[in-house]
């Protein structure tokens, strides 16, 4: 009892004496600077990436389009909307990256075990069911084909999983996930003036 109490006191003293790592910045409402940096970062990535196929090109095209709209909203000081459009552009940019990973057989993280891929597919299936809802809430005609696009990625991923191609299954599942994420960001962007519901 005495030993355990002494150990606890020692740990407290050590924590006070040792230098503490810097705390991550507390998340908060987007400010203009941060949004601008975010958009610039994405712009740079878009410019640097080489589309490996038509899917990647399509994704980059959408990404550019939404990034541009984000910049427009940034110019009109609608920071949250600009941030969400940037996030949508970022998600779509990731599709191009995943297509590149498909070429390089799994990308930098390598091949995942099939069991993990299957669990991922289950989560993606759940997200896919939200796609239509997000599209409705986004009121964005440009994104009208996104739900089908996401389902197509999912179908490819499922077929790949059936044939035991874990890389193709995982990367296509991620693509489906990114499409739904983009839709969600667009839907969130549309909520800026609607207030909290519930």
């Amino acid at each position: 009892m005495v030993v355990s109490c002494s150990a606890a006191v020692l740990v407290c003293i050590m924590q006070l004496l040792l230098p503490q790592p810097p705390r991550p910045p507390r998340p908060g409402p987007p400010d203009a600077r941060r949004v601008a940096d975010h958009i610039a970062d994405i712009r740079r990535k878009i410019e640097n990436i080489q589309p490996v196929n038509t899917t990647a090109r399509r994704a980059l095209q959408y990404s550019r389009s939404y990034l541009q709209r984000g910049e427009t909203f940034l110019g009109s000081q609608r920071l949250f909307t600009a941030d969400r459009f940037a996030a949508a552009a970022d998600a779509l940019l990731h599709i191009a990256e995943h297509q590149e990973h498909l070429r390089s057989n799994g990308g930098p993280k390598g091949t995942k075990p099939m069991e993990e891929v299957r669990r991922h597919l289950e989560r993606v299936y759940f997200q896919l069911q939200q796609a239509d809802y997000f599209l409705t809430e986004a009121h964005d005609k440009e994104a009208a084909s996104f739900p089908k696009w996401a389902r197509d990625f999912y179908q490819i991923a499922m077929r790949a999983a059936e044939t035991g191609d874990a890389v193709a299954a995982d990367e296509n599942a991620k693509c489906a996930e990114e499409v739904v994420r983009a839709l969600e960001n667009l839907a969130q962007a549309a909520t800026e003036n609607s207030g909290v519901r519930g």
Binding site: Q129, T191, V196, R197
Partner: protein
């Protein structure tokens, strides 16, 4: 108890009533138990469903938060939208379940995807808002699950909440169950009540009908018992089914009366025929004798040789005819008996005293005895004296000189018997067969009316005169009733 066991109708009624009440009570208990069990089972199943749904909501929320580093910086409206998408998708597999999240003192992501309306329901139900908040806060306080059941005016509300204390958010789900005040349940309750009332009415009806039937049967039984003694009695009319039986019994009683009257009339005609035949025979014999004697006297008159003895024969036959006519007149003059409740022995002793000297003259011993000295019976003492004297005279005549004649009064169940035992040779089978027929006699100079008259006297007051076979001598028995006897009306 014995009376109850004998009355099977009443017993059946009792068993039926007990069975009906038992079945009704058992049914009510079973129904109540079934309702309670059903509610308990439904609540248990609902708890499991809500627990699973809430866990799934919580799980999907975690996936969503982990996948998005910017989640914390999102405004509530954006979080609300994303969480509603999760709720709508997750709860689609749970019919009747609604739910959402609670964070930062506000409801987020509410959805009821299986709601009946065509439009998606997006507002937290105001009626249950406080209950949900109460459950959610409880889960946040204990940092785990909270489960509560609320009984509303028309339904039962089950709420489940699972908190993620680290993120200060709680996922909740809710389901409404039909309560006791639910219109459908109320309809079922009314139906049960109606069935209960119907059962009660049927029990009361069965009891009332059974009691009425039992009373009716008792009344008919009582009427039948009375009808056995009084042929003129008629069962009172009834309007129910037993009334038809009563009417039938009354009709049968009337028919029986008519039949008896007819039989009596035929008997009388036959008796008159027999009497006329016997009378003709009895009269013809002395007349023939007188005719023959007169013819003889006619011849003797010519020779003037008539003797007094010849006239004595005529005189004797005329006397015989006179006795016959007197006896017949006695038979006709038999008056209506007037039975009274009185002791038997004094009458017997009186008769013996009347004939004591006559018996002594022939050297007979005439003795009397009784089982009990104070035996009572219903009888007309004058008519009993007439019958008993007749029997004693017969006994004196049938008993050889210095014989013994015994008279004994005995108690036999519902009768008192006067037994007259003579010291004669007794009767042959043939004599016994015709013993009480009119004009049958074995006695020289007898009319053959004495025993018939004596028996008629006894029967007219509910008693009888019978011959009882005996080893030695003849034994006649007068039977007197102990109960008042109602003589049937003769038409």
């Amino acid at each position: 108890m014995n009376r109850l066991l004998q009355n099977r109708l009443l017993l059946q009624l009792l068993f039926t009533s007990v069975a009906a009440v038992s079945v009704a009570a058992l049914s009510a208990m079973l129904i109540a138990e079934a309702i309670r069990s059903a509610e308990s089972v439904v609540l248990k199943e609902t708890n499991q469903v809500l627990s699973t749904a809430t866990s799934e909501l919580q799980q999907q929320y975690l996936y969503r938060v982990i996948a998005d580093s910017a989640w914390g910086s999102l405004p509530l409206s954006a979080k609300d939208l994303s969480l509603r998408a999760i709720t709508q998708t997750a709860l689609r597999a749970y019919p009747g379940v609604e739910g959402g999240f609670y964070a930062e003192s506000d409801f987020l992501g509410y959805a009821f995807p299986t709601h009946d309306s065509a439009l998606a329901k997006t507002d937290v139900p105001s009626a249950e808002r406080n209950w949900i908040e109460q459950t959610v806060k409880r889960s946040l306080q204990n940092g785990g699950q909270a489960h509560q059941v609320f009984r509303g005016r028309s339904d039962i509300v089950v709420i489940e909440a699972t908190a993620d204390k680290a993120r200060s958010i709680s996922a909740w789900t809710m389901k409404r169950l039909a309560g006791r005040n639910d219109p459908n349940i109320q309809k079922r309750g009314l139906l049960l009540l109606a069935l209960g009332l119907a059962a009660l009415l049927s029990i009361v009806g069965t009891l009332a009908t059974g009691i009425s039937l039992q009373r009716g049967v008792a009344e008919v039984n009582k009427g039948l018992s009375r009808l056995e003694k009084d042929f003129e009695y008629r069962l009172s009319p009834r309007s129910d089914e037993l009334g038809q039986i009563s009417q039938s019994i009354n009709r049968m009683a009337i028919a029986r009366g008519q039949l008896e009257t007819e039989l009596r009339r035929e008997d009388r005609l036959r008796a008159i025929g027999r009497l006329a035949s016997s009378l003709a025979h009895e009269i013809r014999n002395p007349l023939n004798s007188i005719r023959l004697t007169v013819q003889l006297l006619e011849q003797k008159l010519k020779t003037n040789s008539i003797r007094p003895q010849d006239l004595a024969i005529v005189k004797g036959e005329v006397d015989r005819l006179n006795t016959l006519v007197t006896d017949l007149l006695d038979l006709q003059r038999t008056r209506q008996p007037r039975p009274e409740w009185q002791t038997v022995l004094p009458v017997v002793e009186h008769c013996i005293s009347l004939l004591h000297k006559q018996a002594e003259a022939q050297g007979h011993s005439l003795t009397t005895g009784a089982h009990q000295p104070d035996l009572y019976a219903y009888f007309d003492s004058q008519q009993l004296t007439q019958a008993l004297v007749n029997l004693l005279l017969n006994a004196i005549q049938a008993t050889p000189a210095h014989g013994r004649i015994q008279v004994y009064v005995d108690d036999r169940n519902d009768q008192v018997e006067i037994i007259v035992q003579d010291g004669g040779a007794g009767l042959s089978d043939e004599q016994r067969e015709h013993l009480f027929e009119l004009f049958y006699t074995t006695k020289p100079g007898g009319t053959g009316l004495g025993l018939a008259i004596s028996r008629e006297l006894m029967r007219s007051q509910g008693g009888d005169l019978v011959y009882r076979a005996n080893e030695a001598g003849a034994r006649f028995v007068i039977q007197l009733p102990k109960e008042a006897w109602c003589q049937p009306q003769q038409s």
